[in-house]
Amino acid sequence: MRLPLIEKYRAASFSEIKGQDLAIQDIRDFFESFPKKRAIILNGAVGTGKTSMVLALAKEYDLELFELNASDLRNKSSLEAVLKPSTQQSSLFQKGKLILMDEADGITGSDRGGVSELIRLIAETQFPIVITANDIWQKKFSPLRQKCKIINLKELDESVIREILYGVIDKEGKKLSQETFDLIVKKSQGDARAALNDLELALNLGEGEFINELSEREKRDDIFNVLKNVFQAPTDLGIVRAYDSVHMDLNEISLWIEENIPLEYKGEALVKAYDALSKADIFKGRIYRQQHWRFLVYQNFFLSAGISSATKVKYNKFTKYQKPSRILKIWLANQRNAKRKSVMGKCARLCHMSKKKMMKEAFLMPFILSELGDRDKARLDLDEKEAAYIEDKKVSLILANGLNRFRV
């Protein structure tokens, strides 16, 4: 199996981690002075090397790594398995342990007590604990901060990202144009993981296709972040500007909201959110009918503040947002219904009716039209496909409703 570049070239030791020399010294000090401080927090943006650093630490001191996540904290038995002093099963070859609490930001409001559980764990632990976080300065972590040594990892300089990318391209024996290379570096904003993933994409897709994909992804990333903000973050004054940075118009955004409300909200919040969405839609209609664009303010308000305030319970969880599917489904259905429409249109002319009225009789017409006399057939002037549609429809109606049992 081919490993993704990000795994293939993950730093295997401290010496391979680029641009974080100070932090590395700090983490060594922490481990060697353990248990002076029992836990350490690696705080830094994504892709700055937090996880790599933990892996390197385990490797360098030959430690067995135990990973915990937020839900483990609430699960006594799994915790005990980790914490059980090794003396009980002591062996000469028993390795030391290192406990990793990855992405502590994931401890959420609904996980109430998660932080205090973690603090209790720190008090009891026989092994060093490393906590990684993107933003440890949130209020909910304040008691945790007092128990830990905090190491801040700075974002990687462009020059460091360049160095990493050069190394990988070189080892892979590949080539890349200077423009694409620069683009990847710029886009990464100091995130080595993003840079390596983009590099992999560029090498796999070819450079032209890669650049297209980037702009698409930018749009998607945008809307994903904004949706998360609108659905999950506390409603604040700035919420009405949530969509300002998204490269989509409100109608497209409204489709995204429509698709994803049920993935986020339940019960009363769901009702309120749809209520807000439907009100935004009313204003949209008024804009079109009256060409009064000032109503955009209201459409925007209901789509942002309206949706956001549908629930007071705020949370932080990962939702896999879905692309709006309705437009595609409608298009597909129209393709499928095109034949019925054309048949009913022709039939309407014959019966002195509008197509619209005829469509309402569509469930009866296959039976009637399949037994037409020659003169009516000529007047109806159906093509082969339309004629086949009538027969198919008739048969499927007979089967679906078990009509054959009525035949004598």
């Binding site: 749809y274 019925r340 009716m353 197509k355 009225k357």
Partner: protein, 329 residues
């Protein structure tokens, strides 16, 4: 036999709604008063503009056709233009067609041609204003016969230029008469219970009645009420009930998907969906008080749809209320 009074001239159509469409005043059932007046106007070989208002399948188009056949005899096709307001895109198309048609003189003794504008209430107010001017411009060479479901949707200036006739919903005995008449001709066997079932299913709409009869006959000449009910059930958005059940049980996602599915598969419009929701609400297994509240919400959503809002978004908002109702809130 009493059927003697409305023997239609049988034409050669194999579509029964056409085959049994009366083409004499005497053949039209259930609208005696209107028929008398319109017949009187037609005999004088000069008709005013006419506006026929009333429910579907009560004889509006049929009466219009009878009028032109009486007026023009064999040349009726040359002197008659049928337009469907709901099919023609925009008033400009209507105007152009009217202009082209009205430009030439009528053939025969009658000094005008007749334009039948079906579903005139489908035209917007602006389009109706434009139509009114068109009516005035061609008043010497053309008469308009318009049909609509609700005369209130026709602007006053047009109403005041027309003689208005309000068609009644056909009574059970009228529909029954028609069914028996056709059954005899087509050698069908059906009981009184079957006739009752057909009447129930078609709700006084004579066109639906006859289509239902012909569709059933294509399956079997001996028609039972069960066959009628099965045919109708297969077509009604009965699945709307399933959508509501999902919503009430709290499964919004499935309700939403099913709704989209039902609407797209049979290309049912949002207003049709909301009509069946409105009928269904009262039969649901929930507190009466909730039913009243949900009906109010349903009415509000129907209003928004009529106003031109997005049918999917509005219906989903309605479904969300059903989710809450399912929890007894």
């Amino acid at each position: 036999m009493e059927t003697e009074s409305f023997i239609p001239r049988e034409n050669d159509s194999s579509i029964w709604t056409e085959k049994y469409r009366p083409d004499k005043f005497e053949g039209l059932v259930g609208q005696d008063e209107i028929v008398n007046k319109v017949q009187g106007l037609t005999k004088a070989m000069n008709i005013p503009h006419l506006l026929f208002a009333g429910p579907a399948g009560t004889g509006k188009s049929t009466l219009a056709l009878i009028v032109v056949k009486e007026l023009f005899g064999d040349t009726w096709k040359e002197n008659y233009l049928e337009l469907n307001a709901s099919d023609e895109r925009g008033i400009d198309v209507v105007r152009q067609k009217v202009k082209d048609f009205a430009r030439t003189k009528a053939l025969g003794n009658v000094p005008f041609k007749v334009i039948f504008l079906d579903e005139a209430d489908a035209l917007t107010k602006e389009a109706q204003q434009a139509l009114r001017r068109t009516m005035e411009n061609y008043t010497k060479t053309c008469r308009f016969v318009m049909s609509c479901n609700y005369s209130s949707k026709i602007i006053d200036p047009i109403q005041s230029r027309c003689v208005i006739f309000r068609f009644k919903l056909l009574e059970k005995k009228d529909i029954e008469k028609r069914i028996k008449f056709i059954a005899e001709r087509e050698k069908l066997q059906l009981s009184d219970a079957t006739i009752e079932a057909i009447y129930e299913a078609s709700e006084g709409d004579c066109r639906r009645t006859i289509n239902l009869l012909q569709a059933s006959a294509s399956i079997s000449p001996s028609i039972t009420s069960e066959l009628i009910q099965t045919l109708v059930a297969g077509a009604k958005p009965a699945e709307i009930k399933i959508v509501l059940e999902y919503a009430l049980s709290g499964d919004f996602l499935r309700a939403k998907e099913k709704l989209l599915d039902v609407m797209l598969k049979e290309s049912i419009s949002g207003t049709d969906v909301i009509k069946s929701i409105q009928k269904e609400v009262w039969n649901l297994q929930i507190e009466d008080e909730l039913k009243v509240r949900l009906t109010e919400k349903t009415g509000e959503i129907e209003f928004r749809l009529v106003e031109g809002s997005d049918e999917f978004i509005q219906l989903e908002a309605l479904l969300a209320s059903f989710v809450l109702a399912g929890k007894g809130v």
